[in-house]
Symmetry: C2
Subunit: 171 residues, 2 copies
Amino acid sequence: MTFSIYAATVPPMRLMLKNLSSILSKAQSHLEARKIDPNAFLAARLYPDMLPFIKQIQIASDTAKGAVARLAGVDIPKFEDNEATFADLHARIDKTIAFLDSLPEAKFEGAESRKITLPLRDRTMEFTGAEYLTTWAQPNFYFHVTTAYALLRHGGVEIGKSDFLRGSVIA
Amino acid sequence: MTFSIYAATVPPMRLMLKNLSSILSKAQSHLEARKIDPNAFLAARLYPDMLPFIKQIQIASDTAKGAVARLAGVDIPKFEDNEATFADLHARIDKTIAFLDSLPEAKFEGAESRKITLPLRDRTMEFTGAEYLTTWAQPNFYFHVTTAYALLRHGGVEIGKSDFLRGSVIA
């Protein structure tokens, strides 16, 4: 058995996106049981100049689709960023997973040494595929999934680390 | 170039631990400038039944040393979990990085298919090395580093995602 960049990228991101969906469902149950306006979570921030919850999910989706597209050498699908409800966020996650699943493993052949150029606001980052995945795409992806979790946890939703790690498997 | 489990594990965890140290330093400057009791951050939680900040750093360290030790097939070093100050937390992170750096890459040969057994409170998890790294150790590690970041961000420390992704490189 060899360890491939596909194995390091697609299955774990798919798992985390599914866990994120399960966590969203727990947040919805929490809101419904208490008759709370969904915007209490959808617009939540941990600090006034931080991006709100909806944006955390959108960026988690962006980092996942960006990572797999760049590594596979295909165009990154554009999503509209017009999500406004929990149902929209579930659909966004589902679309992201469908894109991950649409890429054949063969496309990732040699991706570890593919040159990845990332234009940022103030500079351009250059990586090999392996560096890009492990020191940029993965931390970035987990950052936003964890921040989404943290916002719900801070808001009192009864979730624990097992939801984060295995939520969709346990459910 | 092949993509190895060593490359997917040790360099990115070392980078994130260094970034975490830089983030701690920013929190210390924030406290000193405002003459705030360091416990305002050290004991901070996002919710009353969540683990406090110090524990988040300890578990980030635990997940890193546990991951590399299990993958390399060596004993996990025991740390005392007696950190009480920012200086202690920096030392904990440095000890963790030193352990990562002490393991020769050759120890990770074939680690992707090594059988990893993880005793949890209520059950035992079994993985291949590759599954353990990508669906357990990595999400767990990033969860605690991001939660530590989130606690400081929530507390008003002026940090951004570039500190999380590249803090020790930019500094």
